[in-house]
């Protein structure tokens, strides 16, 4: 497990970070996002989808819980905001995460115990109106160089 700390100084910055990761994402990759309301989880997801080559409008999945898009790989955008912490609900979300595509989960801690272990955890912290701190925990060697580079900016 490696830890990184990234800074985003604008909405565009967060989009760009997501996009960089989306470029290298491979089938089965899982990004678990946390952070307060309005921290930028959906914007990070929009960037990542762009990196994956998704053309369609990616917007908040809070109400539908799951949105599916097609890019270079399928993109599964999940939001656990409306889900129950300890419900043993079977929404079949796990099948998507282990499937052919790339998954981003907003409000991931709500599903924490049910998430596959192999994932990239990112917590977005609101610093001020424009600045966000991203705490990253990753056990993917593949992403390490990019995270290192993004840390240096």
């Amino acid at each position: 497990m490696t830890q990184f700390q990234l800074w985003s100084r604008s909405t565009e910055d967060t989009l760009m970070i997501g996009e960089r990761l989306g470029h290298m994402a491979e089938a089965g990759d899982l990004f678990a996002l946390d952070g307060d309301l309005g921290a930028g989880k959906t914007h990070f997801s929009k960037g990542l989808a762009k990196g994956l080559g998704v053309q369609a409008m990616v917007n908040s999945p809070t109400f539908t819980i799951l949105k599916v898009y097609n890019g270079r790989l399928p993109f599964y955008h999940i939001d656990a905001y409306r889900l129950d912490e300890d419900g043993e609900e079977d929404l079949g979300l796990l099948e998507y995460m282990e499937g052919e595509g790339v998954t981003v989960v907003e409000w991931a801690s709500i599903l924490r115990t049910q998430l596959p272990k192999n994932r990239i955890d990112i917590t977005l912290k609101h610093v001020d109106d424009h600045v966000r701190k991203l705490d990253v925990y990753s056990n993917h060697d593949r992403y390490e160089p990019v995270f290192k580079e993004l840390t240096k900016r």
């Binding site: 309005g38 959906t42 914007h43 917007n59 109400f63 599916v68 898009y69 419900g87 929404l91």
Partner: protein
């Protein structure tokens, strides 16, 4: 046959609903089993109970729909169902029920798009005049849809982040208001004043898209900062100021779209169309004696229901579209 009698089923989100509509215009019965009470207990979360409750409610809802319309399956010409978009598990309950009924009674199966449903709720109270523009505003959707003629839908604008209803719910939760948050904010705003200048996301000059995440963040920042400075947060004023920003943007978009596309009618529909401030502002912008007719279905037809699915199914019937028994729920279905 031009006036088919259609049994329609809707389970795309939290409501289990069925209705019988004749010729897309006449409502014979309309039953909705809402899970709002369940959600109130949990503060709006736990939609996974949705699928289970759809299953539990489905049979009773259909029985009541049939008996209150005084019809038997012999009297029906088709079975219609919401195919998407929506929650996967929830959609499947409706789709499978409709397939079973269509098969058992040998009736055609009509696939309906949920948003087309919201739009055609207007058919139940008025005659839609084409070209028409529809503003669909709800918890999961915020779209402007242009209809050059009956059965043709072109999405010209949609939200780039949060849906309007979602922004209402998230702001309401931050203000610690009970669920559902929309009506609460509406009620508070009526007693408040616009004292805070929250942002309006105008986006590019020619865009019909929406964005509410900036407004959401801005309201959260305001509350957060006030709490830190130990200043009093006047909920009524926050609600009124937030609502003013939302309404300004919705009205501007609708007005610009209607005039650019020379629409004869503007239909405002979806759960958020129940909002008083929005209704009032739209009413002022599109007055009775104006060039553009404003159609806002009554509350019971704006929130999720199956009557609207029955009305939209009429269009599907006219186009001769029929689904096979391989019909599936399509969570991300696009409107065409």
């Amino acid at each position: 046959m031009s006036n088919p009698r259609i049994l329609a089923i809707e389970t795309s989100c939290d409501e289990t609903a069925a209705a019988i509509v004749e010729g897309g215009k006449t409502l014979l019965s309309n039953v909705v089993a809402s899970q709002i009470e369940i959600h109130k207990r949990f503060g709006g979360v736990v939609p996974e109970v949705a699928s289970r409750h759809h299953v539990e409610n489905m049979t009773a809802v259909i029985e009541e729909t049939m008996s209150s319309a005084h019809v038997t399956y012999e009297d029906l010409d088709a079975i219609a169902v919401t195919e998407g978009p929506g929650l996967v598990g929830a959609l499947l309950v409706g789709v499978n029920t409709a397939k079973a009924l269509a098969y058992a009674h040998q009736r055609p199966l009509l696939p309906v798009h949920h948003i087309a449903g919201h739009i055609h709720a207007a058919d139940l109270i008025a005659d839609i005049k084409y070209p028409a523009m529809a503003l669909v505003v709800s918890g999961g959707h915020t779209s402007l849809i242009y209809m050059p003629e009956r059965g043709e839908y072109e999405v010209i604008g949609e939200t780039r982040d949060d849906a309007v209803g979602e922004a209402y719910d998230k702001v309401a939760r931050t203000l610690k208001l009970p669920y559902p948050g929309g009506p609460e904010i509406d009620r508070l705003a009526a007693n408040g004043e616009v004292t805070i200048d929250f942002p309006r996301a105008w986006l590019e000059a020619d865009s019909y898209d929406f964005s509410f995440s900036g407004l959401k963040s801005s309201v959260l920042n305001y509350i957060h900062n006030a709490n830190q400075r130990k200043e009093e947060v006047i909920q009524e004023n926050v609600a009124a100021s937030f609502q003013a920003s939302v309404v300004d943007v919705l009205v501007e978009r609708a007005q610009r779209a209607v005039s650019a596309y020379q629409a004869q009618q503007l239909i405002v529909t979806g759960g958020v169309a129940a909002n008083h401030a929005l209704r009032e502002a739209m009413g002022k912008t599109f007055p009775n004696d104006g060039d553009v007719e404003l159609v806002i279905p009554p509350l019971s037809l704006c929130t999720d229901n199956a009557a609207m699915i029955g009305a939209a199914a009429q269009v599907v019937w006219e186009k001769d579209v029929r689904a096979g028994y391989d019909l599936n729920g399509q969570p991300g279905l696009a409107i065409k």
